[in-house]
Subunit: 350 residues, 4 copies
């Protein structure tokens, strides 16, 4: 079911071309003052206008329906909605029964016996990350008050790769387009522009560092911090992999190389010499920054003609998509991932 959380509860709803999208957030501390400037910034990051993003002119204007009086959370469930204003769903009618490759269409068609809302991916649309981003922004602000900061990083787009947080001296805020410098940003944007011009698309890797989480959070086994984070990340459309710390590369190290030795620093704080485990050992935080990377597949909506099937005629057909589609969703996904991280970390430490 579309509910997230152990200590908080977040329910999500909506379709790309329905009346509204939104959610209910349960678990915001009574008395929490909502910082709409910060919420709006996060929403803007998820929705920014660029060559690579859809031209959909929607402002993602949210309205809070309950749980807030005079901008302060009451403790009751906070429901909110974002009305879908600019939905041209006409051209979806033509492809109602044509299954777009690598989209949820076919699985959803089977699961929902043909009743799923096919328009723009319906409930499976990446657009549904907008409510997630709104909710995450609230929790991100709360985390910051506790000294916990989340730093998103576009690590790669296609084969254009930035340096990892694992190699950087300092983990810090990398800005609106979060890479380590203008040069790499330009390379990435050029790459996106190139695939766009080719009616194609590209993917990438988003890296997240969470600094300030103390040791001792999480649970053994099914409630491990990695379990909780990964479960959230794979709820974001297009995510195909996640790795913590050194991730898959750690499998090529020896134990002696891989092990994160502890030491007391001069102030008798516990530190690790390396952070190959990404701040989580045995499912429990050890006080080091939580670092993980998320693989985002190339946008499946491309303008090249593709082979696929029509489930009505039961024939193999060709499909040429129209409408607005990002040629690369990585920068926008980075915002959704940042917000989603805030939600899951808040849930873990609550």
């Amino acid at each position: 079911m579309n509910i997230f959380g152990n200590n908080i509860k977040f329910s999500i709803f909506g379709e790309s071309h329905g009346v509204a999208i939104g959610g209910i957030i349960d678990g915001i501390k009574p008395g929490t003052k909502l910082d709409f400037e910060k919420i709006d910034l996060m929403m803007k990051k998820r929705n920014h206008r660029a060559v690579y993003s859809t031209q959909r002119a929607e402002a993602d204007k949210y309205e809070i329906l309950s749980g807030v009086v005079d901008n302060v959370a009451t403790g009751a469930p906070l429901a909110f909605e974002i009305r879908n204003a600019d939905t041209k769903s006409g051209h979806y009618k033509d492809i109602e029964t044509v299954m777009r490759p690598s989209h949820a269409d076919y699985g959803a068609y089977v699961k929902f016996n043909g009743f799923s809302d096919y328009r723009g991916g319906g409930h499976f649309s990446g657009r549904i990350t907008a409510p997630l981003t709104f909710a995450g922004a609230i929790f991100k602000n709360e985390l910051e008050k506790q000294g916990i900061f989340i730093y998103p990083h576009i690590l790669s787009i296609g084969d254009i790769c930035d340096k990892s947080f694992m190699e950087l001296e300092n983990i810090c805020d990398l800005g609106f387009f979060p890479v380590t410098g203008k040069e790499i940003e330009d390379k990435m944007l050029n790459h996106i522009e190139k695939v766009r011009a080719d009616k194609n698309s590209c993917g990438g890797v988003v890296e997240i560092a969470v600094c300030g989480v103390k040791a001792g959070y999480g649970n053994p086994f099914f409630g491990s911090v990695e379990s909780e984070i990964s479960r959230m990340m794979f709820s974001i459309p297009a995510v195909k992999g996640i790795e913590f710390g050194r991730g898959f590369d750690i499998t090529r190290l020896t134990g002696f190389e891989a092990n994160d030795n502890y030491y007391y620093d001069d102030n008798k704080n516990v530190r690790v010499k390396k952070n190959n485990n990404g701040g989580i050992v045995g499912g429990i935080t050890n006080g080091a920054p939580i670092i993980f990377r998320v693989a985002i597949k190339p946008t499946p909506s491309i303008f090249k003609t593709q082979d696929t099937i029509d489930v009505k005629s039961k024939e193999n057909v060709q499909l040429t998509l129209m409408g607005r589609h990002d040629s690369c969703i990585v920068p926008r996904a980075a915002a959704a991932i940042e917000a989603a991280t805030a939600m899951v970390i808040y849930d873990i430490i609550s």
Copy 2:
């Protein structure tokens, strides 16, 4: 909490050096005949004797306490236990407050205010995968009756790599030490022997293919098939990454290359030309084999002397481990992962 499942419920308990380990399984269909031969084989796979595994002479003899009459499940919760027979915990006393690097010790120490059972990793021990394996074996048998088969694969150990299921013509059972041939097995065993001789350890990658799951299972967002599988996998100690289908590599493909085109085969069955998404799109199965890879870090318990801390004296100290420790847990982890996959897949399709 240590409970897994939406449709089934599996609770786990025990410590490496406590009285017993075990679990409660709720959700086995009444009338299910338990196939103890198959269960025992799975338990043996998780516990096999080899140069690289611990010399602990325990037979992992389980006893069923409830829920079964005359080898048939009644529908009531099935509780079982494995008594810990051969526990020499004396030598752990010396290192009670010395935090083993890359073990759960320190996080657990903080989380449980110093009351956690430190002996052999306590509740965080890899030994707790024995109950998971027992339970998974039951569900694996049930899946096979429905035509769903799980194939484990040791894809790599250290930098010795086998061919992936993604490249193989046929996905099939690869045997007790699941690799594609004797040659690669020997290479891997040699590598393990080499690190063992060096008082060191190594990790690897386990690949799983699940064949026979029909299209339409899973849920959008928080209940995506990837979310459910990843949550389970990260509950297995030493897992640091997971990727589905082409995983992180898909980020370097274009959308056109990456997209899995559908087609009708001659019998009008829906097929995919490629399976870059590993059988899951938008969180929902599409009928293609579910393929994923799991990164297992090198065993943190090594016999080389390591730097670490003593939380009692609050001093930096050196630690030289004694006792029995696998220099490579990948082959045994493969069995736990196979069983865990069975449990999560059964839960998803129930």
Copy 3:
């Protein structure tokens, strides 16, 4: 958290004097055609105009935000809202810190550190049963398609008592004001009018019969049918007791008198000679009608002056309420209970 259900999930939100109330329903079968006539009837039952009910002119006009295309459920979460139109919350300002006796005010004040929305009971308002009624109406229609019917009954108001379903030959639909005849209805309405004229209020007992549920539903222990139903019933404001079958009276019978003997009828169907257990034995349905009674306390909002406290001044004060308040909520509660029963029964048999 404000989420109900094991197989379905229902989230609820809203405050009496906020922007909107509503909910998200997850678990409606894809393809379900919504019968708005029946939904509207149920909403009207919960909101009918009478001498004893509030004069609030709100139409409880709901809007569906997602999960429905052309009046048919898609299988995605169905979100809906009811905007609060006619909210005169001004007079609540004066009593912001005066705790109304037998209302949630004081507990909520403590729980939410003084941040709860005090206006009209906020999230604790009986008005929040409107979303519950909307959702329940959908499930009631679905149950009827499966041959399961829910019959509400106003068993008593104050000390005016109707005959119980336990004594009636036939269990059947008792109409809009569900009692066994006009005479008892008039008596009840007179009683309500009398307490209203006296600036006082009264309570009553609502009885429910659910016919058509087959034997074998429910779970032993924590998931007993009585556990599930009672949990739902006590979520409805003002409910103070529940009893199944003969309820508290069964404690005065002997086992021989109390036991519900089974027999095969002429068609070899299993029947019970009595139904003292109200259709549930050992937490599991036995095929007989599920019968239970729910105690509704008198409306705590009365126009008589009452002693209470002001948590701001920390003084004992007197309170004279203004505004609109039902002198008896039993008839409206009966509709909410009917709808809530539909939801919980649907959840149990799903």
Copy 4:
């Protein structure tokens, strides 16, 4: 599923005539010292020997399997078991397919497709309250350290009624057979002896008072304190009703009579003049004692010959039970209810 709790998790297993019964408790605070004297007392209360109880000679000897080192909880799941020693299940074989009236037999037979363990009620046996009592005893001790005390009370047996906590000046510990005096105890025991001599059985009402719970616990709607308590109580076999405060009788009061007026006492503590709501208003505690009553039906196992069915022959048959059966379970149920209350209250305030 057989799992209880939001903040704690308690899993239960076992059958009356299986290998063992027991459970897993997750959520005991690390460092909690187990007080085995108090646990044993509670176990003895549930299992005491008297004319009215079964002659089963079992000592209910529990063994702790995990989660405890040197009598102190580690924070890991505490698993425990009680081996079934004295099980003469032979005579159950004869009535395997004969459905005992008012037992779970028939519902279980349908639910589990005939595979349920019929011996002694199997998993539905009242014997399964032994694990519940063990677990509850631990939580009861923890509550007492926080100043929260639970007082059980046998309010009635058959039609022999004691005075309610609602009428008593002081709520206090009423001893091993918890009634207000020797006279009423004798009357009750005589009544039990009378029905026993008549091969019959009787039921009764158990009342519970919980003192010391502060205001502000619980949740609106589905997580109301009444919802949580009632859900737990109806998981205890033979419970058919629950009412809080004045319960069903409150429906005959006017609002003015029923309302619990608040006042500040001399120490500026908030008090209620009456406690008709039993310490819970709007689902939230208000600081007054939580008082509720639970209806226990007469033991369905009686030695009189009864009419019923045989599901194998599909014939109406007569059944004459043999073996050991309590003619009144109320005193033993009182202990289970006391323990269960401790568990649910601990869960609510955690």
